[in-house]
Symmetry: C2
Subunit: 151 residues, 2 copies
């Protein structure tokens, strides 16, 4: 998967969202989509975590590939929190909509940190990756604490 | 999302899979992951379909961005059909494993057609995209018919 992506282009394009409005026919489709995107992101982010924590051997190419997928998917879910998607099979708290500016800022923070992790992964240096990994996890946690129900 | 990806690099890297073995701690994690990846792929492929079918106005940039996401996610699910992932919340037929060569060929066919659709999307020409869209849908359907339970 080396060279799958051009990282600079990825990071540069990060904040240019796809048009979010009216993308989903049904609210449940939007909910399923955002959960799917978060899941793919979490899996690849988690694989970097396993290397950072020494649970699996560090492979720079694999880490870089995982970081690419994590970064690409990090921007997708936020197109799917439209009106009417607050009910159903979702753990999203009402604050996603009632404090939407804060939610968007938290999303942006995560994407920024994920971008930094992506750049770190391109370095091929495990210590550099370790330093960038923690802030992503913190950004995940902060958003979960504020905007996601425990169960 | 313009320039998010470098399409040639994406297509070139398509067949270089991430290491598939032992990527998931639990079978249910693998199943959730592959369903998530398929879902994200289907959403973005479907958005191109909506333009092809005239249901939404054609926007070349949006189509190209959707094609990038669809292509990237098209290669992810097949890392998650390992041993022991044939049971649980999955519609995968036993043939995924008993006729694994055919399954892999069907997956590859879909990825190839998705690569062609990606190239077509980069042209910005709706007729070119239309011509490349159908074969992807056929590849999806053929794999579903042979390897996915109806319900």
């Amino acid at each position: 998967m080396k060279n799958l992506l051009c990282a600079a282009a990825v990071v540069g394009g990060l904040m240019t969202a796809l048009p979010a409005a009216a993308q989903f026919a049904k609210a449940e489709d939007a909910i399923k989509y955002r959960k799917s995107a978060f899941n793919v992101m979490a899996v690849h982010f988690g694989r970097i975590g396993a290397m950072v924590q020494g649970k699996v051997p560090f492979d720079p190419k694999v880490a870089a590939a995982d970081a690419d997928i994590a970064l690409i998917t990090a921007r997708l879910p936020y197109t799917a929190f439209g009106e009417g998607t607050d009910k159903g099979e979702t753990r999203a708290k009402p604050e996603v909509w009632t404090e939407n500016d804060k939610f968007k800022a938290a999303a942006l923070k995560m994407q920024e940190e994920m971008g930094k992790l992506n750049a770190a992964a391109k370095s091929g240096n495990l210590d550099t990756i370790k330093a960038a990994f923690g802030p992503v996890g913190q950004a995940c946690k902060q958003c979960h604490d504020n905007f996601r129900k425990d169960h």
